[in-house]
C-alpha cells in the first residue's frame, strides 16, 4: 500500500506560470487536505475536502484552487504562481472529516517560484 503519493517531488517554476501539484491516496479516505509549510509559520491549511465532490477553504486559500472529482485524487492548482508561493506543500488524508481521525501525510512537494 503506497498511502499518499505526491508529484512532483520538487519543481522550480517561473512566476506567472500555472502549476498543478498532484496528490493521490489509495486508502479510500473521505477527507483530504493541502498544507503549506514555511519556516517559522508551521503548517497552514490551504484547502480541504471532506468528501468527493466537496471542497472548502482553509487559512490561506488565496492564489490556490482544488478539485475533488473522485475519492483518490486531490490536485492543487496555482493559476499564476508568485514568489510568495515558494514553499513545501503537503497533502494529507483521513478516513473521515471532523478532526478525530489520524491524518496521513504525503512526502511533500518542494516548490520554488522565481
Amino acid at each position: 500500500i503506497a498511502g499518499i503519493t505526491q508529484a512532483p517531488t520538487s519543481q522550480i517554476l517561473a512566476a506567472g506560470r500555472r502549476m498543478t501539484l498532484r496528490c493521490t491516496q489509495d486508502m479510500r479516505h473521505n477527507a483530504m487536505y493541502w498544507y503549506r509549510q514555511d519556516l517559522g509559520l508551521g503548517l497552514r491549511l490551504i484547502h480541504y475536502s471532506n468528501t468527493a465532490g466537496t471542497t472548502g477553504k482553509g487559512e490561506v486559500p488565496d492564489g490556490y484552487s482544488v478539485s475533488r472529482a473522485n475519492t483518490d485524487d486531490f490536485p492543487l492548482t496555482l493559476a499564476s504562481a508568485v514568489p510568495s508561493q515558494t514553499s513545501v506543500y503537503f497533502c494529507a488524508s483521513s478516513d473521515t472529516a471532523g478532526g478525530a481521525d489520524t491524518q496521513y501525510f504525503g512526502p511533500g512537494t518542494r516548490l520554488t517560484v522565481l
Partner: protein, 109 residues
C-alpha cells in the same frame, strides 16, 4: 489565525533529560487535539491525539500529553529523551485540522 499556540520555537535538552513541549489552544468547545512529529526531510507522523475521556493520553515513542481545560493546554511530555527524538513537533486541533507553528527539538549528547 491559528487556534493553537506553541510558545517555544526551539527547545534544547540533553539526552536522557525529561522533556515538555507546550501547546495552548483557544477553541470554544472541547476540541480534538493532537501532536505530530516531523523528522528532518520527512512528512508528519501522529504521536497522539485527544478528543474525550481520560485527559492523560499515551502515544507512540514513549510520549504522553495531558489535556488541561483550566489552562487551555495540551503539553507533550517524555521522561527521557533520546537523540533520535530530535525533530520538529507540531501541536494542532479542531474539526478542520490546523497546526501550530511548531517547536524544534534539539538533543545534545
Amino acid at each position: 489565525a491559528q487556534s493553537v499556540t506553541q510558545p517555544d520555537i526551539h527547545i534544547t535538552v540533553s539526552e536522557g533529560a525529561s522533556l515538555e513541549l507546550r501547546c495552548n489552544y483557544s477553541y470554544g468547545a472541547t476540541p480534538y487535539l493532537f501532536w505530530y512529529v516531523q523528522s528532518p526531510g520527512q512528512g508528519l507522523q501522529l504521536l497522539l491525539k485527544y478528543f474525550s475521556g481520560d485527559t492523560l493520553v499515551q502515544g507512540i515513542k514513549g510520549f504522553e500529553a495531558e489535556f488541561k481545560r483550566s489552562q487551555s493546554s495540551f503539553n507533550l511530555r517524555k521522561p527521557s529523551v533520546h537523540w533520535s527524538d530530535a525533530a520538529e513537533y507540531f501541536c494542532g486541533g479542531s474539526y478542520i485540522p490546523t497546526f501550530g507553528r511548531g517547536t524544534s527539538l534539539i538533543v545534545h549528547p
